[in-house]
Symmetry: D2
Subunit: 437 residues, 4 copies
């Protein structure tokens, strides 16, 4: 079998002083942090679509820049096999334990649903074997119901019930393939579940459609015995003007409204949160507060650009804040840290794929270490705990227990007068964070 | 009693050809549109704070630009009385049926809660009399729990229970004053209910606090027999970095989570919607779809500026789209169109207040007329209805009724193959809207 | 010869009461406005790339949605010929006097520069004949130096001089083809002239490169005897993170710095201006104030989306403000109004191309009519003129003539004290604009 | 003389392991970095307005939150003296070598220009003495021509020549006071030099006014013998909708157009750059490339908020990138690093002022150290130099020397064919930056 990444060996941990760009400086899979190994904490996953199907294209450059050795066969199924083998070679050399796919990434769409499904079955068979050979596991599968022209006006939210049926058929199969490969989760990202213009849209009807769809997905999950977690991934816009799964709060509202909350968790992506006007850590905390942070798509946007740049995550502040949320909720459970990120258009060499993933993994490893130390030291928590102390006794406790009312609180104020001014100490807390970096 | 707006008479409707800047060209209160008068449809309200307490200040000009004749007395209570009389003179000359206030707008805060409440009682007495004299009614009251230094870290979401109690006492009184004046609604806008930094914040705890607070407000409403509507007003940011009532979807999620949905509707503000990344009509539709569009704060932001510019609404596209939503839900019920807008810093003359409100009222009157014609002609609706026709029979009907599943839909696709491509006709629909302008 | 737009006849002017979606309601080519025909004022142009090469693709849907009858031949040159013929049929039926192209739109790139140039020569020959047959003229040509992978790191600003040479060779040919077809202008839009990251960029060097390039272009223009106008088109970002031709002010600065100001004017695009944080009319006025507004790319962005949506222009406020600038500078000269706009992904039918252009042309025709009336009435100008009156005599005149200094002005203030407050009357002026709509 | 910051001693350098929040961990004034002391490199300055006049107010909280001991005297001149003494105590305890002021910060405006000037003279006398006593120096002075109502429509760009004269008189005096105190620079920030609406604005006239004003300022500088640097500070918006000094490129364009380039440099503020859509380092590089980077206003914005948040700079990426630019241009010359930043509204204690400045100084000290190491190692520069190597010989050299043309370059391409693809290695370079943190 041919080797695609010739000249690159398994990436080793060499420690922070190493100058070798193809080595980890911080990610040491078996190193213990707070009672678990780094590998157990971080559960890194490689995204099949960006790293093996991406060509560096963009709206002003619609043809591929990269020249990939796995993309040369003339037969599409041969290319699909080569691509899958290349992916497993890469993931193994990188030392990531997981990968993720869309159905149409791993197997090209056929002339009919039947042909598409047959192709999927064939490739999933190969994936099964490669997983067994390498120990690499499937973090999650998902279905691409947004690229094909038929989904232009939406999949589950399409005004045409025929398209709704297509999406149902396609996601049914993708769920089954995920189940067959032992996927730990299944993700719903509604790439076209939104609108381009309100002028031709019945928003309430489309949301009802989406709810019907997700209820059927839950039924199908049970029907096939899939025990992984179902995840919804919020995104506010792009490709549509407005996507119904705007942000964590909007998705939680939707799940509550349609009685779906018990069946789903969220897959939070950094760049999607920032496009919605939130920090990554905000949406992580919001989901986590409801016990619904299921997995993360790790990447980085550019705050000055208004589209999903999907850069690899290297900002140590961001990885630290993310890991603080994850550690505080006791870990990411069946989820993981999936690099939904792509090398830049100009990073056209095979080795750039390694630089990118090594940088992301090292950045999260540092974030993990720093977050654990911040927690262990109580560096931030002790301040926060003291700040809310008044709710743990007296009138504050009555408030939280629901044992008081406006009249009693008014009497309290007449009696106690003006509260004391207290500093929120933001600058000091920021300095403390910097002292850990 | 002195007249404040000398030389300006009651604003008359003079029709579209009038060149008189101090006349209505489109708002004709008694004109019938779709079976109701314009006045009944639009229920215009003047915002006390911007138009009578605003000085044209901004972050780089913290002292007033305007020189208001009602703001000259040295005694603060005399100023408060003069200001209230000026407001009623203005509203009467303008011919708006409603006004709105914050507690601290109409009566200045005293040295203690008791003094503040006494002052409120006094001014509310005067308001009662002026309402009776003029027929002007109170659309809603609300409480300013954000300007005073004590609310720096929040009101109901303050880390200090003592401040929570203050907010409770203050809002208790504001609800009572609203009730006394026959207010049609009471509004909750949480000016500081959010965070400045996640480093010192327990977000989950603060949201629990807010829910406790709103439950007590509902209890108090019932205790005093207030039958108006309780409204929550979303805003994403400013003054805080993140406000918990981010947008309509977020507020609906919150109300659902904490079992408050039956007790509240939403007051949607144009500029708040756009700051959250949505069009005004999006948030109106979203609230309306849940039966929760209770009232609107009519203004206009500047899409290229990142703060609440609160300009008067003059964009006819926006007023038309807003009125389409309101007409389709059968009207604004107990709510109204409140001009939560301020004249520009440079618009320092008394007559500018009239220009601004006349422009806003004419713009909504045109929006109403255009929207009614669009609806009567079925200009947009007929297209939309046809677009979703597939859900009213066959497989589509089964989907909406919950009588099918993934397996049946898969079979449907195997049988029927590829759906037809259909144009969404956005450009044609935009041309149709323009043909009404 | 086959007809591509069967069933659609030449679009006629039917007046504002027409309900025929395939008729002009406002654009009446020969109607006189302020001493010129609408056609002379507006000089509409159809953009070859969007309307004939566009497939409705986007970053999440990289394969075409539209099924165009001119895109079916297997031979690429046959497709190119068919496409050109379709374009001339469309433009003729629409009644637009101009079109625009990139070199690679009209003729597909070959295996070598020589083959590409030969193909261009062939197609330009056909264009020459079609122009003669139909009377349609070339508003401008330009070169696509951004889509091909070789331009990933820039064209003139590429770190590799070899790529610089490629761009030079390609633009040389595009200028010659424009000249051959009697193009009225030649446009430089630097699609990749910017950077993706400052970490690997020598910004000062790249700007020097760009200046060298433009100087050579000027020399070449003279060498071939091209007498059209050279235009630079600003855009702030997308596809690169930062493009050197950020906005009108930045381009004017660049042209001044490198002594190129006399040789270039600007082609201002609405959506590029808004992406840079400016209104369309701002960048138009800025360019016009320097005598450098050469042409416009008419489209419309979505203020809530951070990418170039290139929607057709239908906002009547925007078209009116644009036409005010153009009328005040005495017309657009050799430039025109080019619809650099694309139908939505979901507008997949041939007739959608007509709806879109009809809507844009009608919107600019209304903008023209309204702007001319506003100017004729002095509705805004009389206010503005009065506002600056103090600079036309006394101390103000001395200021503008450069005949005073700080000491004299200080003495003036000591003598005259505080200036009077004057309202800017923004709300009244906005109402006046609305009274024209 | 009273001590305002009781209990806080001179801030000492204690090294990176110190847990004392009131000590420097990284800023060691006399430590040598690249041949100069940290103090010489960084030239820190404290901003009088934010730290001593700021009250924590914001648009929704217009009354002060902070209770400052220097703000208690009833006589305004006594308060001004107390405030100045408090500032010198703070700056001395902090160990910053410089401060900056607006005229109206240090001395309150009087009833007339004469009284205002007399007050300034008095306070400047005190400042002279305090400077001599403490060794603290004036980095720059500037004039507040934006807060007073008279400047509502602009200062130099006001439509009323009388206001222009006021601005001239006021800035004349501020320049003289700066000169008297040995200020190293004088700054022009045009807080209201822009427009609120184009409807009432003659943009070209206003820009001509501004140019006339700056020419007079240059004359006055020479007249009084001031030898400091004149600096213009760009900002895009806020308080006005559009400010003429939008960003570095726009200001450079303006200075070139009006023949002012030789007389001015730029004062680049981080938060202003980001509001204009640029990174801080972008605007620094742009100014530096023209030899025009004169000084910096160090702070930090919030990318998700659309106003000037003026937070203290703590992001180590940003301080490192800034110091890279400054080191590469050979230092900041007469400029410095001025903390144009304010503690948060909730940071109401005196010690918060110390936390904030210590954090900012430590962050820039780390940025300096990291930048020097990156330069010394050639970690980024060696890559960049190699990337542009093709311009140092052969055809590239001819391009840069202006010794070739389009025809020769076309021949070059015919001969050499397609260029090689080269990776830009962005991910690797980002990893290298992280390896220094």
């Amino acid at each position: 079998m041919s080797e695609f990444f010739r000249g690159i060996e398994k990436i080793a941990y060499e420690g922070p002083d190493s100058k070798n760009p193809l080595a980890f400086k911080h990610y040491d899979a078996e190193a213990m942090v707070g009672g678990k190994t780094m590998a157990e904490h971080l559960r890194f996953s490689v995204a099949f679509w960006h790293s093996f199907k991406g060509g560096g294209i963009d709206p002003f450059g619609p043809t591929p820049v990269y020249d990939r050795p796995w993309d040369r066969a003339t037969d599409p199924m041969q290319r699909a096999e080569d691509t899958l083998r290349a992916a497993f070679e890469f993931i193994t050399k990188l030392g990531a334990p997981f990968y993720c796919w869309h159905d149409r990434d791993i197997a090209p769409e056929g002339e009919s649903l039947k042909e598409s499904n047959d192709r999927l079955d064939h490739i999933v068979g190969l994936a099964e074997q490669l997983q067994a050979d390498t120990g690499v596991r499937l973090l999650w599968g998902t279905s691409n119901c947004f690229s094909n022209a038929r989904f232009t006006h939406g999949a589950a939210t399409n005004p045409d019930a025929h398209v709704f049926a297509w999406a149902a058929a396609q996601i049914k199969k993708a769920m089954e393939c995920t189940h067959r490969l032992g996927g730990a989760n299944y993700v719903f990202w509604g790439g076209r579940e939104g609108y381009s213009s309100l002028l031709n849209t019945n928003m309430a009807h489309e949301q009802d459609q989406l709810a019907r769809f997700l209820h059927m997905a839950v039924e199908h999950k049970k029907a096939i015995g899939f025990t992984g977690t179902l995840l919804v991934e919020p995104k506010p816009k792009e490709p549509t003007k407005h996507q119904y799964d705007y942000d964590a709060a909007t998705v939680l509202s939707f799940l509550r409204k349609y009685d779906l909350l018990d069946e789903f968790k969220l897959n939070i992506e950094a760049n999607h949160a920032t496009l919605a006007g939130h920090t990554f850590e905000h949406d992580l905390q919001l989901a986590s507060a409801d016990g619904k942070l299921g997995s993360i798509d790790a990447n980085r946007g550019d705050y000055l650009l208004g589209w999903d740049t999907d850069q690899f995550p290297t900002d140590l502040y961001s990885t630290t804040y993310a890991m603080l949320v994850i550690l505080k909720q006791g870990g990411i459970a069946s989820g993981g840290i999936n690099f939904d990120a792509k090398v830049r258009r100009g990073s056209c060499d095979l080795e750039d794929l390694f630089h990118a993933h090594i940088g992301g993994m090292d950045s999260f490893a540092r974030g993990l270490t720093l977050a654990q130390r911040i927690i262990d030291d109580g560096a931030l928590d002790s301040f926060v705990e003291a700040r809310y102390a008044s709710y743990r006794s007296g009138i504050g406790e009555k408030i939280m227990r629901g044992e008081t009312n406006f009249a009693e609180l008014e009497a309290y104020v007449h009696q106690h007068g003006e509260p004391e001014k207290r500093s929120g100490r933001e600058e000091m807390l920021e300095n403390i964070v910097n002292s850990y970096l």
